[in-house]
Assembly symmetry: C2
Homo-oligomer: 220 residues x 2
Amino acid sequence: MALPRAARTQRRTRIQEAKEEQILEAALEVFSLHGFRGATVDQIAEVAGMSKPNLLYYFRTKEAMHRALITRVLDTWLDPLREFDAEGNPVSEIRSYIRRKLEMARDFPRESRLFANEILQGAPNIEDELKGPLKSLVDEKAEVIRAWAKAGKIARCDPYHLIFSIWSTTQHYADFDVQVRAVLGQDHAGEGRFEDAARFLEQLFVTGLDISEEPAPASS
Amino acid sequence: MALPRAARTQRRTRIQEAKEEQILEAALEVFSLHGFRGATVDQIAEVAGMSKPNLLYYFRTKEAMHRALITRVLDTWLDPLREFDAEGNPVSEIRSYIRRKLEMARDFPRESRLFANEILQGAPNIEDELKGPLKSLVDEKAEVIRAWAKAGKIARCDPYHLIFSIWSTTQHYADFDVQVRAVLGQDHAGEGRFEDAARFLEQLFVTGLDISEEPAPASS
DNA sequence: TGATAATTTGACCGGTTGGTAAACATTACA
DNA sequence: TGTAATGTTTACCAACCGGTCAAATTATCA
């Protein structure tokens, strides 16, 4: 009989674990590049270096593969936000959150794109996880930010939109990579663009664009 | 014989113009929702209210439809940036650019998602337009910003990453709409979220998160 | 080793999809 | 009105795609 991973009393074999890993790695590659609908099981099988039926022996449907991948990615994707520390110095907490998110955009662009693809298509498979775990975590951290603002440690602002703006600015460098490269051109599109981005974003979030050297005229 | 729109000495008929408009409208709806691969010609035909072969009479392939749509959208998408005025007041120029982009995210989310989808998939069809017209325009405006910074009218910063950050923060509200709604929840997900976003982004870009009321300690 | 379970594969299937052929309908216009 | 160009539809096809099946191969272990 052939029961791959469902309904088994025993734990998963080493070989099962390895193969599933191998498959998810290939699936990440293909899904992030072509989206769910655009990816074909044959493609994933080829990248994974195995036959299609063999792949479907471990994940019974294409959708099951996608689900497994998404939940895993969503989890690691939120790690930087979890590290957000209420006890730390507000400005340096935000600064390092930006840095961590930017590092993820640099080192795990496929994961970012997979996620972006899913959201863009209306998040048909993960709406629950967005409204559940994700919202909870954001609510919690938003409260931290609000407390900081109330204590005068940071400018008063909408904490949710602050988080959104950090997400969007950092993930932009993964999701819109082609555009970023095209606009920056040959000379500035090297790996240095992440450092430039980090420098700019830190400045933006901390002091904005106003000239901080000279005191502004009192009129406004 | 049946030559829809190619190789004709005469201009396009009124009926052709109307039908092509009708098709592109439907194509925008479907492509922006499902991506290129995810959209089917039948779907588009149904939304457009005509039969599939009739649709293919005006656009010979699915890809031709997509191309026509993308180039048109890209063009209108760049309008706000074109309005960016070198002679105006820097801060208010940036402010109104943010506002315009945010309005587009609110009023034309389908266009934004279509574009995002294309970039996300590696921009197979529009890489030339990115490296050509888009880059030129951005280069030009970046020079304006650099001049402002040099003249002390604005904080010194990387103009390209400034533009990226405005793009990403504003388009986020169209492209990641589902996520934004999910996180904000029922109470704050109404149309007011765009005003909240506008308020936050203006603050962010102008003064950042530092507490501007109190003078900062002179150490830094 | 032998038997049993787990894994792998080639062949195949039904449904979908982009696109075509050709007949039919409508419009433009002399 | 006649006729040629334009527009529309029905029927259809070949390729593709997700998934199945049964047979073959390999690992597990008494």
